[in-house]
Structure formats: C-alpha cells, structure tokens
Symmetry: C3
Subunit: 348 residues, 3 copies
C-alpha cells in the first residue's frame, strides 16, 4: 500500500521536483532504499550516497539539493528539515498498514458502572477501569491495563498492554504509555522515629500534559501533597524513575535508566543521557544537557552540557588511577611541599 508523491507534499509541504503521480511504497534510509521507496538525506556528509541512491524519490534540504540533483535521477522533495519530514512521512506510511483497534469494551474488561468511556475508545481484554475514571475519544487501552478511580486518559492516548495508571492521575492528548509503566505509585516519604519509618500518605497526583511518551517499566510517583507534573511534549524512555513532586519542563527528553529524586524541578528543552541521576530538591534550568551516567548533585542554573562519569580504562589501568584518586590529597600535599622547597631554593 503506497502513496503518490503529490499526496505527501499536500500533507507535509515541501517543494516537489518530479512527477506528483509517482507512487512510493515506503520510506527507507539511504543504504536500504529500493526502487519503490522514498529516501531522505539528513546529513550533508552523505550527499554522495544520496546522489547514487536507487530510491524513487529523495527528501533533501535546499543546501544539499544541487549536489544531490547532480547524480540522483528520481524525484525530489526539497524541505528545510528532511529528518522531520522523514518522521512525518514514516508515520503516514505506518498508518496505512497499522492495526486499528476496534472501538468498544472487550467483554472480559471490568469497567465500573460510573466510569466514562468514550464510544470511540478501545478497552482491551482483562482491563480494569475503576469508579469515576474517564477515557476520552480515540484512546486505546490495551490488554491488562489498570486505570484507577477518577483517573483521566486524554483523547487519542495509547496505553500499551499492562500499564498501571493510578487513581486521580491524568494524562492529556496523544500520549503513549509503554508496557509496564506505572503512573501514580506512592512517593517515597517517611518520618523517622528512633530509626523506624512512619509512612507519610501520598495524596497528590501525577498530572501529565499532551504529547507525552513514557517508556516501558518507567515509574512516576504521585506527589506527597501537591502534584508531580510532566509538561507537554516530554519524552521519557524506559526504566526511568521520577520521584514525587518533580516537575519536568515541556519538551524535555530523558534516555533510559534515568533517575530523578523527589521535588526536583527540571526546565524545558533539556536532555538527559542514559542513567543520568538527579538528586532531590534541585533546580535545573531550561536547555541543560546532562551526559549519560552523570550524577547531578547541585542545581544547574545555566544552560549547557554537563558531564560527570569516571572514564573507562583497562581494568589494570583503572586500578592504578583509582588508587591515586583515593589519595589525591597526598599528591596535592607533595606538590605544595615541592612549591615551598623551590621557593626557598629560588629565593635570593
């Protein structure tokens, strides 16, 4: 099932150089694209490969167009951001063949009488929807999901199989929650009485904006009193932990295994590499980028890239340097002693 180039340009814009009636069957990267495909050049270094590509059509940026056109014999769609165009076109090709879940509630699902399920929503097998929950139009709730009392699932949001979405939490439109995600578990809050922990009830919610993706087995705790907030467009990968009362700013992205301790306030347009960790009660400004494996132990008030992980080495070399790291103060003292001695020597 393919599409006409003209149909792509009508949907996604771009300047078509070539036959609008040409049919393409799919989208593929330069190395894999065949005669029926449309491909894309998102990196100017690959111009030569694009020029030699056997695809039927090419998505290309204005700056690369002349160089590609010199060799490439297919049609071209010229657009400022070919990678974004690729993403949109790929979504479109996928939609042509994707399985569309049927609206309605599977007979094995257990849905409270006063839950409000839009007739266009899909509720899969073995789902539980508790009292007062609301599932909006076009939402897809796959098998085994749990939606707690009073929770709200926004329009077109998709819960993959075995997602747990707890009471009173909310997610906006077009969200995607991957399997094993847990939204609204209790935050980790205790008072300590002579060594014994007394639980502090966690009565806040998790409030999630529009266009938010949450990865497999990621967990987001509800707030203690106030809410945990995930703003619009946030993208969280798998195995992430977000503590209670955090706020993650709009369009921030976190790679797998990131951990954010409670009450951290993170800005917009930030990125966190895999397994980065953020301590609690910190503030991170907008447009801060944290490298993988780095521990953020102080607030960051200036945008920029920050890093903090021990460099990898052959084990024997690491043992040598680690021993020195453990005794760096000795080394510092030796240098100070040397400086002092030399001062004496060089004194007139």
């Amino acid at each position: 099932m393919g599409t006409r180039l003209g149909a792509l340009v009508e949907r996604f814009g771009g300047q078509l150089v070539g036959d609008a009636n040409l049919e393409v069957n799919g989208i593929a990267p330069l190395a894999a694209a065949g005669a029926g495909d449309i491909s894309f050049l998102s990196n100017s270094k690959m111009r030569a490969q694009a020029a030699a590509c056997g695809a039927a059509a090419m998505i290309v940026a204005p700056a690369d167009d002349a160089a590609v056109a010199a060799g490439f014999t297919g049609a071209r769609i010229v657009t400022p951001n070919p990678y974004v165009y690729f993403a949109r076109a790929a979504q479109y090709f996928e939609s042509l063949t994707a399985h569309v879940p049927a609206p309605g509630i599977h007979p094995s699902a257990v849905v409270a009488a006063d839950a409000v399920i839009d007739p266009s929503a899909h509720i899969g097998p073995h789902v539980t929807v508790e009292e007062g929950a609301v599932v909006h139009a076009g939402a897809v709730i796959d098998a085994g999901c749990f939606i707690g009392r009073g929770a709200v699932i926004g329009e077109g949001t998709h819960l993959f199989a075995n997602v747990t979405f707890h009471a009173r939490c909310q997610i906006g439109k077009r969200g995607i929650l991957h399997s094993g995600a847990v939204i609204g578990s209790d935050g980790f809050g205790f008072a300590n009485e002579g060594g014994v922990y007394i639980k502090i009830p966690q009565t806040g919610r998790v409030m999630i904006g529009d266009d938010v993706d949450i990865g497999a087995n990621t967990s987001i705790d509800r707030g203690a009193l106030a809410d945990t907030v995930i703003e619009d467009g946030v993208k969280l990968d798998n195995q992430i932990q977000i503590g209670h009362n955090c706020r993650i700013g709009a369009h921030t992205a976190m790679a797998g295994c990131v951990g954010v301790a409670g009450s951290a306030i993170i800005g917009k347009y930030c990125t966190f590499g895999g397994a980065a960790m953020v301590l609690g009660h910190l503030t991170i400004a907008d447009r801060v980028h944290i490298s993988s494996g780095s521990m953020v132990s102080r607030s960051i008030l200036e945008p920029g890239q920050y890093t903090g992980f021990y460099p990898l080495a052959k084990n024997a070399d690491w043992e040598k340097t680690a021993a020195i790291v453990r005794n760096l103060d000795t080394m510092r003292d030796k240098i100070r002693a040397l400086e002092k001695t030399i001062k004496t020597l060089t004194k007139p």
Copy 2:
C-alpha cells in the same frame, strides 16, 4: 470530614494548648495551611513562618513552642517529634476519606480451590491466586496481581495493581507492594561450560518481614538454595534490584534505582541514596549510609557516610579533568621525578 483536636491528642499524644473541641479538616505544611487546617513545625529555622501561619492549630516541639506561641494565635500540640506526629495525623486524615476496598473475591479473579483467602481480604479483578497460597485478614490484592503456589500474604498487606508475587515467597503484616513489583523471580545463577551458561535452579524463597514497603517495578530474586531475606521495617523505593540470597537488615531504606548484587548482607538502619550499587557477597555494617550514585565494591564494617561518584562539571571542564584522570600515573611519576631532582638540588 475533619476531626477534633482532642481526638488527635487521644490517638497520638502530645500536650494540647487550646480548645480540645476545635475541629480541623486537614493537615498542611506551613506555606499552604489555611484556617481549617492543622500545620506543623519540623524545622526550627521556620519558627517565624510558623508564628505567622494562619492555621487553626500547630504541631510544635517543646524547644520551638515559646517562639511560635509568641506570634501564633491558634491552638498548639506540643510533642517531641512534630514530623512524626504530622505523618501519623496525615495517615489519620487520609483514613477518613480513603476508599476502602470491599472484602471478598471479584468474580473475574481466578483463585485455586485450596488457596486460603481470609473473608476480610479483598481480591480484585483479574487476580490469579494459585494452589495453596494464603491471604491473611485485611489484605488487599488489587487488580491484575499474581500470587503463586504456596505464597503467603500477611495481615493487612496491600498489593497494588499488577504486582507479581511468586510461589512460596512470604510477606508479613502491614506491607505495601507497589505496582510492577516482582517478588521471587529466579536469581541470576549459572555454571559456565566452555562459554555456555547452564542454569542453576533457584529453589530458595523471598522472606519479607512486617511493615515492609516495596516500590513500583522493584524486583527481588528468590535465593538459590537458601532464602533472600528482607527484615522488618525495610523501605525500598522504585526500580530497585535485590539479587538472590541477599539479606537487608531491619529498618534499612533504599532510594530509587539502587542495585544490590547477590549474597550481599546489609545491616540494619542503613540508607542508600538513589542509584547506589552494591557488589555481590559484600557485608555492610549497621548504620552505614551510602550516597547516591556510589558504587560499593568492598565490604563496609564501620558505620558512617560513604560516597563515590564523579563530580559533575561543564562538559568541557570534565573532558579536561577526565583526560588527566586517565593519566594520573604520569602525573604521579612527574611528581616523583621532581622530588628526586629537588632532593639532589637541596643536598649539600
């Protein structure tokens, strides 16, 4: 739904200064407390804020009472540990409005004929309880949970939706298991034959004490032959991994993303910051505190605070220092050479 101050003091003690019949509707921190609330002062630095707070009543420590009383016009409950008092009072306020799951077994649950379910326990939709499992009085097993053959769930213990509790494992009273937790998965044990791994059956159990909380998506492996043991009062946050044959001492708390490798023996009253890691077969004494992001690679026999993570820096600065770290032995050699030269220079 509120409560009389007198009722709070009858339940939780403290010395009431004010009208025992005054009704309060909820508990809130200093900054948020309104005219119908009771608030609390748990940090002496906030005395001025407490004195000016508009709450109906204030929980306050003896040492702060005079300073607060000078300005605060509401009632006061004087008690040695206001934060603990807050936790207990908050639990009480929550209990007044909390949803109480009805006793009984949901018709969609699949419960083995010889499983023993106390009539006061709640078994939710789509739950599976296998042969010989025991669920004690007042336990709450939410939707989608799995309880394996011969497992035992103690009195008043709460399994949130989609918890997996495997065969023969046990948990005591008043426990809380959050969604996605897996108790009793096989430990990671293999014999290696010419590069190929041969599985060693994991036939031990996970034995969990009373008052234990286990976070969302946390996993605890069963022992290989002996048991994995989690003692009373342990609090585990989300995304934690506990390997086979570990023992976690009573009232130890671990923040999110901590990992403990197999056969580690951890003392009582310890704390582990987020993403701390403990290697296998280590022993950690009582009252050891491990900072976030720190790797424990040797046994720790003395109480205290231990840390080991690379400090965060601007990426360019990190690149500079990381390159030096990789070559610290060169630096050490240079210092030795300098010392030698200077020794020669300063020799008579």
Copy 3:
C-alpha cells in the same frame, strides 16, 4: 523423591567410585549437605571441607579426587567440571518435584481465533494472545501475560506471570522470560523540529535466539526499521534496558540494572557487571568484560576487562578528593610550572 547415583551418571556422565544403587535425595553445598545428599567440590581450596563432608556422595574434579578420597567416605563422581555437573544434577532434582503446568488454555484467557497454540502448551489465566501469534510445543505462558499479533514463542519457552511480548517479536527454544519483562516496546526515536519531538515509527522487531533468559522488569525495544537481535544463549538479569537496533552476541551475560543505548553492537561471550552502561552506536568486541558501575563511552575492539567507576570513600575523604578532581588542571599547571622552574635551576 530421590535418584540412584547410577541414574545420575547415566544422564550426565562422570566416573562413579562407589555403589551405583545408592540413593540420594537432593544436592547441597558442602556446608549444608546431609547424609541423604550429594554434594560437590568446585573450588580446590575447599578440599579439606569436602574430605570431612557428611554427604552420601561427592562430585569432584580429577585433580581434587585423591585429596578428597583420603578423608571422604561416601561415593564419588569424578568429572572435569563439578560446578556444571552440580547445575545439571540440580536441574534434575528440581524436575522430580517441580509443578508441571497442565497443557491447554485456561478458560479466562483471551486467545484470537487464528492464533496457533500447540496442544502441549500451557496458557494461564487472564492471558491475552492476539491474532496470528504462535505458541510452540511445551511453551508455558503464565497468568497475565500478553502476546501481541504475529509474535512467536518457541518450543519449551517459559513466560512467567505478567510478561509483555509485543507484536511480531520472536523468541526461540527453551527461553525464560521473567515477570514484568517487556519485549518489543517502541525504541526511543524522534526527529526534533524547533525543540519539539516528532516520533519516528518503530517498525522493526525483537528477534531472540534459543536458550535466552531475560530477567524481571527488563525491557528490550524493537528496532526502528531493522530488528533488535538477541543471539543464542544470552543471559540478561533483572531491570536491564536494551535500546532499539542493538545486537547482543551469543552467550553474553549482563547483570542487573545494565543499560545499553540504541544501535550498540555487542560481541559474544562478553560479561557486564551490574549497572554498567553502554552508549549508543558503539561496537564491543567478543570476550570483553565490563566491570559493574562502569560507563562505556567508546567502542572496545580488544578483549579484556574494563572498568570505570569512582572509588568509594568515607564521605569526608570523597569531598576532599572530589574537590581536587574538579581542579586537576590546576594541579597539572602547578606541576608544569615546577618543572619549568627546576629546569631553570638545574641549567648550568
């Protein structure tokens, strides 16, 4: 329920010294083995303990046999790798008493009409199997599992309760997937348009070989266009994250909490300690061993052991050394200055 020594030797080889008709009831380590058990000596340092052990029989390597025989009065099975023999014998003992799930589909399971379930497979309560999925002979699908459209579960593979196995993914024979594992979640792929992320459809699969174990709450993302591949004999522990388009070479093992970013290509016979992290698009050679807590930020082309974590210290000591690490370039400059001064001093 026990077995004759002769039966063990017929199954697993080894040279029996003693009575083939002697019955043993179980297998236990040296310290725990009683009169009805068979034990094993896998570490020559424990020879004396083996010689004094009260077990009915002992599995022993040729090099240790004489020393053990000098004291040990029971029967002996002499074999080159007693630990592997132990693993196999333990599997056998376990099989004698293990619960064998009955073939067939539980009435509460929801299985698509065109799914192909081998009559010898077990489909537990509340399982969902979607259209076109295939479950081969002897597979065991425990309660609450989800198997997506067109997925394939190989012969004898066991999905513990609450595993999510997404559409079109495949696993081979004798695999074990522990509870909470998620196979085939979407990879983390986006194009960025002015700060806003546009999702790139993830249309590849996860293709898993034979004899692969996958731990509790571990997630493996499907490929973006091509597949994510897990080769034969790979063993993944709990809480692991494998990004899209990775390839994990045969017989590689990863301990808990490891993270592998997208498109990393990892060799065969590698090991990864707990919480090790691998950045995306790297290549790791065969027989590379990464220590726990280490961040792999560059490709590794030579076999060997590699390490990179900050050594743990008492917190006060760490604070001292961490401050120096942050300013290592200052220290380097001081050394250079000293070298220069000394050069001047020592010049004739």
